[in-house]
């Protein structure tokens, strides 16, 4: 007798919609701001965005990033400015995928993609170096695993979650305001939808644009 309510539960569940999917044949779409593996971006002209400032390493709560800067060779610079990331390593076994490195990065050099399939058979291979992290000049990203049903390299191009999640100057509303730099292969990514909170957006936009035209980058405005 007392078993009957249990069977009833089972019976009801059978006719409910299934929530599990047949991974990897089927893949759920991920949230726009999903934190997958990192990528080091380039500008459309091929220059590296990373300037070797080590802010990502400094902010990393898991201490999994190791960066060393070096002076840019003046006749063949690697990145704009004086300094570039000469050594860049992330120990992905230690990484907790919090995304603070993206947030700390002053040049949007490091961003997180949607790809999380990166199992390794050797601990050493989990330490991604510049070879695995740095995108090619055409915007494609080297990934140690070959293309397979598991690894969808298209996800490597869905980077910049933070850029669209965090607004210029930390404002909550920024729809239509683009204050980030273009990236090789994809150009300037659009602003994330649904970030408009206030009604006087248009005037803020025009002011922001004119500030940029006047030669003051976003960084000046961000600092104080």
């Amino acid at each position: 007798m007392s078993m009957l309510p249990g069977f009833l539960v089972t019976l009801r569940q059978i006719f409910r919609r299934k929530v599990t999917t047949q991974y990897p044949e089927q893949k759920r779409s991920k949230p726009q701001r999903f934190h997958g593996r990192h990528v080091l971006n380039r500008y459309p002209d091929g220059m590296e965005k990373c300037i070797g400032c080590e802010l990502c390493a400094g902010v990393c709560p898991a201490r999994c990033i190791y960066v060393r800067g070096k002076e840019n060779p003046p006749d063949d610079p690697v990145s704009p400015g004086e300094r570039y990331g000469f050594v860049y390593e992330i120990n992905l076994l230690r990484c907790i995928f919090c995304g603070l490195c993206e947030e700390a990065c002053p040049t949007e050099a490091i961003t997180m993609t949607q790809l999380f399939e990166m199992s390794v058979t050797n601990r050493d291979d989990a330490i991604y170096t510049r070879r695995e992290l740095l995108m090619n000049p055409d915007g494609t990203v080297p990934h140690p695993q070959p293309d397979s049903i598991l690894v969808d390299k298209g996800e490597l191009r869905l980077a910049d979650g933070w850029m669209r999640a965090t607004s210029p100057s930390g404002r909550a509303a920024y729809e239509g305001i683009i204050a980030w730099t273009p990236t090789a292969g994809v150009g300037t990514r659009p602003a994330e939808k649904g970030q408009s909170a206030e009604s006087h957006q248009s005037s803020a936009i025009s002011q922001k644009d004119s500030e940029r035209e006047a030669g003051s980058g976003k960084r000046e405005a961000d600092h104080g």
Binding site: E54, G58, G81, E82, G215, S216, E220, A221, H223, G224
Partner: protein, 802 residues
């Protein structure tokens, strides 16, 4: 400073010494006033305007800069009022108007006073929207310093340092108003021995040092305080390392020694620690006559068996040890104990014949401390050119002369760095030192005024070897004369980092640890009881050992971090000794001229890699600390020596800490010294060991040899051919070209012009070099820099020919 006075800071009554600047008085009572241009070791200029505070006056509250306002009785100061806050925010906003925000790239980012104070005292956001001022990004103003004028906030710290402190005003403001910039003079680089200090005190990233550029960020540096081993001043440094690599040295501000400053050699010579040429495994000479890498066991076994054989065949007197003047006290003590106790030889010496003599260094009565310069009325400098050999001591003497009103008397064969600030300059020709001293003591002729100055005490006499061609007896005689002056103290100076410490540790044929005469049988017996083995009777000093090597009476030699062939002034004798190739063991960082022929070369841990103490030229014992491991298989000297002692059937103590305790027990002068007492908090200023028990009474025994028309002045330069200089890329290229310097009169008499190639012949050979004309030289003198490529020996007689 006069009587204490009372004032009110933010409603709190505080007392401060009269004449003290408000900014300092407030800081000492816990109120930090933001600042950029003010530096406690330099005169205030009130330029940055960041330290504005309100002072209540007869006409209401007035904004004043607290760095230019001395405290006054009853003064009422507001440092946090709305007006002050607005003014400070305003100044910061102004400073950032033209400051590029390239903080992520800038080496100062993370430890930048401008960043920090913007966060603590600045406005949240800038309202400046125009294009910033632009200059060409970093320009190299010297081999060591890069200048980024965009980042400069024009605080004048670097220009004031160069003008007030170092006396090389090579960096200055040019243009005016919004176009003002710091720069060097055309065609004159910022070639100062002290340029690194401007990098250290720059409040932004405008001045950066090439050896540290982009090497690390402040947050990945570990730091430990230590003592600079480059010369015997013993400057306090903060050694900063990342990933087991020393990346920079920062001067620590202590009153006793360096007051925050360092010379560029001390600051940048750390590069040799990771030089590719540094030895990382033991080397043993094989049957093919070449040095081969070997294991520690193999190398130490070989040494033990060969030395054991020498002792068995010819007795312990056939064994000798040289060096220790670059080691810690613990290493030197272990070296001494190994030789004197375990091996039973009295042939050991830390001096390489280029200092004023161990007796004077260790035993001079009335030894002056560096801080005595602050109180001195007259300072006699009859010794090396301090700027070239003991640069930070030069800064302290200069400070006494320019800021404290002391009269400096410089006696030297050529112009020294101090001449411009000296009250009296006496020139003499090498070889006429004794006569000059006699005339000075008697106040004869033009020296009457100098003599009169020396009678105004307190007097500090800095005494050392002016040049290496002159007899060491002269320094002894000068010290003896100085001790006859009223209210005088003597500071005997030698260059090598821990030479006094090594002597104090008994690395000297006639001295046991703690300045005890080795001829004293009772003292030897007491030491033997402590050591548990016999203590050897006095043996040979360096020149005795060298001649012993040459005549074959010494068959085995241990070198502890020394290179007699390069450093001994009598190069001919040193080279002859090493040519005989006895069994030679060298503990060193690099292969050098002396250990190239060694049978065994052992790689050692050194500065920043071992813990220990050092004794500077005042007898001040200071702690040295470890922050990085050695390279490859290198090991601490004390461990190597202990392993060697064990193989020879003895023991010298297990580890530096244990040895330090033993030193305090057996060395009377070091009884009060312990590592705990030298902790960097309490023991920052170190411990000055008491004089004695051995007291040397300097005698007046200098006599002038008869010399020909030209005599040699063999002086040192800061950047010479030493391995620590040549192994680091930054300093190696700064060494000057060797040249024969002649007075213009001598040059014209001999028919030479500047740049002529000549052959200079001394007692140990000839060398070809260019002629340089130096009107500051005493007539009849040829000046050659020592240890810089060309070597002709150290005889006073010298010939210069086409």
């Amino acid at each position: 400073m006069s009587d204490p006075i009372k004032l009110t800071v933010d409603g709190r009554e505080v007392t401060a010494p009269g004449g003290q600047l408000l900014i300092k008085a407030a800081e000492e009572h816990g109120t930090y006033i933001p600042r950029f241009c003010w530096h406690p070791r330099m005169k205030p200029v009130g330029m940055c305007r960041m330290c504005l505070v309100e002072v209540e006056g007869p006409r209401g509250k007035v904004l004043v800069t607290s760095c230019t306002t001395p405290v006054a009785e009853g003064m009422v100061v507001h440092t946090k009022s709305d007006v002050v806050k607005k003014a400070q925010e305003g100044v910061l906003e102004f400073l950032l108007v033209n400051h590029p925000l390239d903080c992520p790239v800038c080496d100062k980012g993370g430890e930048c006073p401008l960043q920090d104070q913007t966060l603590s005292h600045g406005p949240g956001e800038s309202r400046f929207v125009e294009e910033k001022r632009h200059f060409e990004k970093p320009i190299a103003i010297s081999e060591l310093v890069m200048l980024d004028r965009e980042r400069c906030i024009l605080c004048a710290r670097c220009t004031r340092f160069s003008d007030e402190i170092s006396g090389d005003p090579l960096i200055e403001f040019i243009d005016r108003g919004n176009h003002t910039q710091i720069n060097t003079f055309p065609d004159e680089p910022f070639a100062s021995y002290f340029s690194g200090n401007t990098v250290q005190i720059c409040p932004v990233g405008a001045l950066t040092a090439t050896p540290y550029r982009f090497r690390a960020r402040p947050w990945d540096l570990e730091a430990v305080e230590s003592t600079c081993p480059q010369c015997s001043v013993g400057c306090r440094v903060s050694v900063q390392a990342s990933q087991n690599q020393v990346l920079r040295l920062i001067g620590v501000d202590v009153d006793a020694t360096n007051q925050g400053w360092l010379c560029d050699k001390g600051r940048f010579a750390f590069e040799h620690l990771r030089a590719p040429a540094r030895l990382s495994t033991p080397l043993v000479r094989g049957a093919d006559g070449e040095l081969h890498e070997a294991g520690w066991g193999e190398a130490l076994d070989l040494i033990a068996s060969r030395i054991g054989a020498v002792i068995a065949e010819r007795g312990p007197a056939a064994v000798a040890g040289l060096g220790g003047a670059r080691s810690t006290n613990e290493e030197a003590y272990a070296f001494g104990k190994l030789l004197r106790g375990v091996l039973g030889t009295g042939n050991l010496d830390a001096s390489l014949g280029d200092d004023p003599g161990a007796a004077l260094l260790a035993g001079v009565p009335h030894r002056a401390t560096i801080d005595d310069l602050e109180r001195a009325k007259t300072i006699l400098v009859w010794g090396p050119d301090l700027k070239e050999e003991l640069p930070v001591l030069h800064l302290r003497v200069r400070r006494a002369a320019t800021a404290l009103g002391a009269d400096v008397v410089v006696v030297h064969p050529r112009a020294t760095g101090l001449d411009r600030d000296a009250a009296h300059v006496v020139r003499y020709r090498p070889g006429e030192g004794a006569a000059t001293l006699q005339r000075l003591a008697a106040g004869e002729g033009d020296l009457a005024a100098v003599r009169a100055a020396l009678d105004t005490g307190p007097v500090v006499a800095i005494v050392g070897r002016t040049g290496l061609a002159e007899s060491a007896d002269l320094a002894d005689a000068v010290a003896a004369f100085a001790l006859t002056l009223a209210d005088a103290k003597v500071m005997p100076v030698a260059r090598r980092g821990n030479v006094l410490g090594a002597i104090d540790m008994g690395v000297h044929p006639h001295l046991l640890p703690g300045r005890v005469a080795a001829s004293d049988a009772a003292a030897r017996a007491a030491l033997a009881a402590a050591w548990g083995c016999a203590v050897a009777v006095p043996g040979r000093d360096t020149s005795g050992i060298l001649s012993g090597m040459a005549d074959g009476s010494i068959a085995a030699v241990l070198l502890l971090g020394c290179d007699p062939v390069a450093d001994h002034p009598d190069r001919k004798a040193a080279a002859a000794a090493f040519d005989k190739a006895p069994f030679l063991v060298s503990l060193d960082l690099f292969l050098n001229e002396s250990n190239r022929t060694a049978d065994v070369v052992l790689p050692v841990d050194t500065f920043t890699e071992v813990e220990g103490t050092m004794t500077n030229l005042e007898g001040r014992v200071q702690k040295s600390n470890r922050i990085v491991p050695g390279v490859g298989a290198s090991r601490p000297v004390v461990e190597i020596l202990e392993d060697l002692a064990a193989r020879l059937g003895g023991s010298i103590g297990a580890g530096a800490a244990a040895i330090a305790k033993e030193i305090a027990l057996v060395a009377p002068a070091y009884a009060a010294v312990s590592w705990e007492a030298l902790d960097w908090g309490r023991g920052r200023d170190g411990i000055v060991v008491a004089e004695g028990p051995f007291t040397h009474t300097p005698e007046r025994r200098a006599t002038d040899p008869s010399v020909g028309a030209l005599t040699l002045h063999l002086g040192r330069v800061l950047y010479d051919g030493g391995t620590m200089i040549t192994a680091g890329p930054s300093l190696a290229r700064l060494a000057p070209e060797p040249a024969a310097h002649l007075h213009p009169d001598d040059a014209s008499r001999l028919g030479f012009a500047a740049g002529d190639r000549v052959t200079v012949t001394g007692n140990a050979g000839s060398a070809a070099m260019a002629v340089a004309i130096d009107p500051t030289l005493a007539r009849g003198t040829v000046y050659l820099p020592f240890n810089l490529g060309a070597s002709i020996g150290n005889g006073l007689e010298v010939k210069v020919e086409k």
